[in-house]
């Protein structure tokens, strides 16, 4: 049976086990807790420095996004064309709206 013509052979590797999914969810929960704690500046006073706060929040957001897309949406196991399709839309949206925000002087405000 040809690998390129069948639907049933779209998965290159095994999917994670249920226990692995639970562990990933645990990591996501910890990351969300850290995110929320940044709101309470009295807990971590260094988050009063804006660039530290922004860097922390963006890194946490990207890691959470990446974990859900790679593991829960199975991009890690599926064919690269799916990752590329999604990344194309994401990159286009990011580029278009950063330019739009620049045009409205959002970052200099």
């Amino acid at each position: 049976m040809s690998e390129t013509t069948t639907v049933t052979e779209t998965h290159d590797d095994h999917h994670p086990s249920d226990w692995e999914y639970v562990k990933i969810a645990g990591i996501l929960a910890v990351l969300t807790t850290i995110e929320v704690l940044t709101y309470f500046e009295s807990v971590f006073t260094f988050f009063e420095t804006r660039w530290i706060l922004l860097t922390t929040l963006f890194v946490l957001m990207i890691v959470k996004f990446w974990l859900v897309a790679r593991m829960f949406m199975h991009l890690k196991q599926d064919k690269p064309i799916l990752s590329q399709s999604f990344a194309a839309g994401l990159a286009l949206a990011t580029g278009v709206y950063i330019v739009a925000l620049l045009a409205f002087n959002f970052f200099s405000a």
């Binding site: 069948t6 969300t32 996004f65 799916l82 399709s85 999604f86 949206a93 405000a109």
Partner: protein, 205 residues
């Protein structure tokens, strides 16, 4: 003609689901749809970022955010991604009872999130933040409202899967349907990951 090619050609003649990419058209279509959704939510998020300080002298969304409350509903939506993937895993291995249970739990967690959003909107309205109060309010309600509509559609899809499973129409052979609904559900979750950080957690400069 090589054996492999002959086999592939034979398969192509008889398999109505054969595709050039090796991926089912439905799954590829869902990924392409989600790709375009990035542009939709990108537009809504950018609009809010541009208008978030335009309160016309009235109350701004950032003045009345209830971060602890929204954190809980965000956590609920995040955990619904876990239950969704557990549902897919169960259906894939033929454990339909557990699959049905996880589908129902996922829909219920989505319902809790929507309930939280309704409560949030109601409390904001009581504090003077109506949809047309100012540009910031309009942009905020449009963004989070659109996301809420997506979650609601996801709940409807989950419930239709659950009904199909109850009727015995959902089997491991069509687990891909669960996977496609799951992709949509996870996407709604990652959009909220972005909204929660950019809209709620980053304080005004």
């Amino acid at each position: 003609m090589s054996t492999a090619t002959a086999t592939a050609d034979t398969h192509h003649d008889h398999d109505p689901h054969a595709t050039n990419t090796g991926i089912s058209n439905n799954k590829l279509a869902m990924w392409l749809f989600l790709s375009t959704e990035c542009l939709l939510f990108g537009a809504l998020i950018s609009t809010y970022l541009l208008y978030k300080t335009r309160g016309n002298g009235g109350v701004l969304p950032t003045d009345i955010f209830d971060i602890p409350f929204t954190s809980v509903s965000s956590f609920v939506l995040l955990m619904s991604s876990l239950t969704m993937v557990l549902a897919l895993s169960a259906v894939g291995r033929g454990d339909m009872d557990r699959g049905k249970a996880w589908l129902l739990v996922t829909a219920m967690l989505g319902g809790v999130f929507i309930g939280g959003q309704v409560y949030e909107f109601t409390s904001f309205y009581r504090e003077g933040l109506g949809y047309t109060s100012n540009p910031a309010a309009s942009a905020f309600y449009t963004l989070t409202g659109f996301h809420g509509v997506h979650v609601s559609l996801g709940i409807l899809m989950l419930m239709s899967l659950w009904v199909s499973a109850q009727q015995g129409k959902l089997t491991p052979n069509n687990a891909e349907t669960v996977e496609i609904v799951g992709l949509y559900w996870h996407f709604v979750d990652i959009v909220w990951i972005f909204i929660f950080t950019v809209i709620y957690l980053i304080p005004p400069a």
